[in-house]
């Protein structure tokens, strides 16, 4: 009788946590939706009218947060392109001055 009760207790102790875990897994988890979800189309931000954008607007802040990495890489590639152009311009100028001599 005592063995039977112990067995029932053990089954209950192992079943209840398992049931709770399975219930929590069945809930709507954001990670499940992340699989196959579309990434933010940050390229569209450059077509937006910056004059109408208010940096204090929560929508604008949310967009900046979503596209932080994209904007940083854009700024980085722009600055390297600018410096490349500047170097290229300097080379041309020095070539020109060499010709003058």
């Amino acid at each position: 009788m005592q063995v039977r009760l112990r067995k029932t207790g053990a089954i209950a102790l192992s079943t209840i946590p398992a049931l709770l875990v399975s219930l929590s897994v069945a809930a709507h988890e954001p990670e499940k939706h992340a699989e196959g979800a579309k990434a933010p189309d940050c390229a569209a931000m450059k077509d937006m009218d910056s004059a109408t954008m208010d940096k204090d607007d929560p929508v604008m802040q949310a967009m900046m947060e979503q596209c932080k990495g994209h904007m940083e890489s854009m700024a980085h590639s722009k600055s390297s392109a600018d410096s490349g152009q500047r170097d290229h311009g300097n080379e041309k100028a020095s070539e020109g001055s060499a010709h003058d001599h």
Partner: protein, 184 residues
């Protein structure tokens, strides 16, 4: 009026009531009410159901405390992604005018991407939206999201709904995308 006349009147009213109840029961049990979602309710049924819904939601939602930070951008991001996954199919998104659900559900789900909510002041609207998202509406297609979502997550959706009508399709796409998506 004599007592005899009064008794006759009461008896007459009781018989009329009984006849009405029997007629109503026959109407229900014979399956005469058109229950298909493609046949609108008659005006009386529509009024009754709408009044029951609106009065019930207003009473139940009236005591809910609204968080003071519903305009935080973090709430927009969290609520936007959930809205896109769970709600946009029925309640639409900027630039989309209809879906199979808006065409087929009855009553048609409201287009939340358009500014049309006229239910009282902003606080009442927030309370109402929170309650409806959490508890759902019987026999309307609106599920109760409360069992699988905590209150904070539901408030995030309420926060997103406040700004949804202001968003362009491009803004909507960026704000509702899940940043940690596999496609990223």
């Amino acid at each position: 009026m004599s007592i005899r006349k009064l008794l006759a009147c009461v008896r007459c009213l009781a018989v009329a009531g009984l006849v009405l109840i029997l007629a109503g029961a026959a109407y229900v049990y014979l399956g005469l009410y058109p229950i298909g979602a493609d046949t609108p309710h008659n005006a009386a049924t529509y009024w009754l159901l709408e009044s029951v819904r609106e009065r019930s939601v207003a009473r139940a939602a009236s005591g809910i405390a609204v968080p003071g930070d519903l305009d935080a951008s973090a709430r927009l991001l969290a609520g936007g992604a959930d809205y896109n996954d769970m709600c946009a199919g029925c309640h639409l998104e900027p630039g989309v005018k209809e879906s199979d659900f808006t065409l087929g559900l009855y009553p048609a789900p409201p287009n939340l991407a358009e500014a049309h909510d006229v239910h009282g002041d902003p606080e009442t609207r927030d309370q109402r939206r929170f309650w409806i998202i959490k508890h759902g509406i019987k026999a309307s297609g609106m599920p109760a999201w409360g069992p699988g979502h905590d209150d904070e997550r539901i408030w995030n959706m309420v926060a997103f709904l406040k700004r949804l009508p202001d968003l362009t399709p491009q803004q909507y796409q960026i704000v509702t995308a899940r940043k940690d998506s596999a496609a990223h």
